[in-house]
Symmetry: C2
Subunit: 339 residues, 2 copies
Amino acid sequence: MKVALLAHEKFPTRAKTALGVLRYGTDDVVAVLDRDNAGTTVSEFVPDVQEAPIVAGMDNLEADAVDALYIGISPIGGEFDESWRDDVRTALEDGCDVISGLHYFLSEDDEFASLAAANDCELWDVRKPDNDLAVADGVAGDVDADVILTVGTDCSVGKMTTTMELARDAREAGYDAAVVPTGQTGIMIEGWGNPIDRVVADFAAGAVEEMVTEIGDEYDYLFVEGQGSIAHPAYSGVTCSILHGAMPDKLVLCHRAGQEVIHGYESFALPPLPTYIDLYEQLAAPVCNAEVVAGALNTSDLDSDDAAADAVDAYGDTLGIPTTDVIRFETDHVLENLL
Amino acid sequence: MKVALLAHEKFPTRAKTALGVLRYGTDDVVAVLDRDNAGTTVSEFVPDVQEAPIVAGMDNLEADAVDALYIGISPIGGEFDESWRDDVRTALEDGCDVISGLHYFLSEDDEFASLAAANDCELWDVRKPDNDLAVADGVAGDVDADVILTVGTDCSVGKMTTTMELARDAREAGYDAAVVPTGQTGIMIEGWGNPIDRVVADFAAGAVEEMVTEIGDEYDYLFVEGQGSIAHPAYSGVTCSILHGAMPDKLVLCHRAGQEVIHGYESFALPPLPTYIDLYEQLAAPVCNAEVVAGALNTSDLDSDDAAADAVDAYGDTLGIPTTDVIRFETDHVLENLL
């Protein structure tokens, strides 16, 4: 599929979804829309992802140049920025689907809904859960695939990136692996998935189970994208639902180097790292035998590779398992423990 | 408030909500509607609750006899039974509010919505969450009240009943105690509350926190109604959200005598009872210091009081804390550990 990624004024550092699609997606990115950087290209900002021109808006593309427009940014609050309306309108008039991870549902916007109907194209709000979700049956453990889940010491420590990198490296090494996406960016990269944090609490585990059982007999390995942290004052319920809904065999503990308190909840100290292993394994135990067998450290705050390598080594020594930074270093020794 | 309780063909054993309102509610129950038992009274079936006549329908009551009609039963699936329509219609025509815990929302039924508007009365669907819920801030621990949460080895082991009984006994002993209801029956008994299992997963802890902080400075003790179980394959996320959202000081572990597997998920064995104590306390620890200090055993499956007393003693020996059956026996020694 040929796609355009809307990332006005935010590319690349504040355009997590656009960057994720460029890095991990299988779609052909025809252009990134960023009016602040029109005339440049993606590789001028990010060297190791798919190359694409950056243009000012949909008007700069031929009418049949793309099949879909992705809203590749998600501002705090998830609101729709009216300065994007022309691009979405043009896309729909050109017959493009529009895919969005915003809290603001494009499918409930009167103008967009009318245009989509008139031009026979789809408005997909990935944060809008399916209406047919149900309570978990406790059967995710029955699938043929080995299920590997990323878990974290906090939100935003790299669970999505770790999931995507490990799955890609596993596939490149010849393993039959797929990703089970549970959040908006993962869903937009993979083109399917349930946004677990938006699901009614009773159905959260069921929404994960539905995905695992849907594809679990078609692959040898599933990498399930985790959310939140079991130690998080607000989001631990989502984490717990994914842990029990996915019934994983193996866990990868993700952490940000140097972080000592819950982000945004600074009065809550992170428990010691080995405590996380105990918490995740013991909480899983009544439902499934899941073991933390690898660690992923996010060293993006460390400038030097030497300091990053030292931090990864120290993380591994503390946990007693193989560790890496999936962006900065190799993943071979970590995958050995997972596959 | 004068209320009628709809419980057609289900009173008393399959009318959990009606029985809860009769037993714990502060409303004056004018009548129970049960066409199968019309002409009898509540005390012929249940000795130790509020007395009321049982009638065939709303037509048997004077137009100004009641202020509100409660739907006091909740069939599997939570559907509305069309044989109840005449009663709801009559209630609304008489200007009564109607309060329902069904999945089927009466406020979205065209006839009922029109009648409620025309007669200026309220349709309250207690399973419909507020639209203004938000993410937890991690501040429930700051309230003046000591927060006591009931937790369980499974669903339907007596957490709601334990919460209500302990709060009532505490108040009768002179303590300033209130209930924080989190499920449909508790909400209907107390007349307020958030149905946590119906809340979007991201806001589940926040919905508990909102309730605890709303009344937590007005009382010395809050008894928070727990839901599900941390070991449940489907509902553990709800349990975890309540544990971290309420930030309790003390926990009461509820269990059904003799139960060995998760109800409806019989391939999942309950962990050993002391493991539950470890699980709940260790999972709470990153967010709050909560200790399991008492146990409540549901002995309703045991016929003899002697066998029940033995089971309660054995439960206490296993856990190493004071235990009781809150319906069958005294709660004094348990309350001593809580207040």
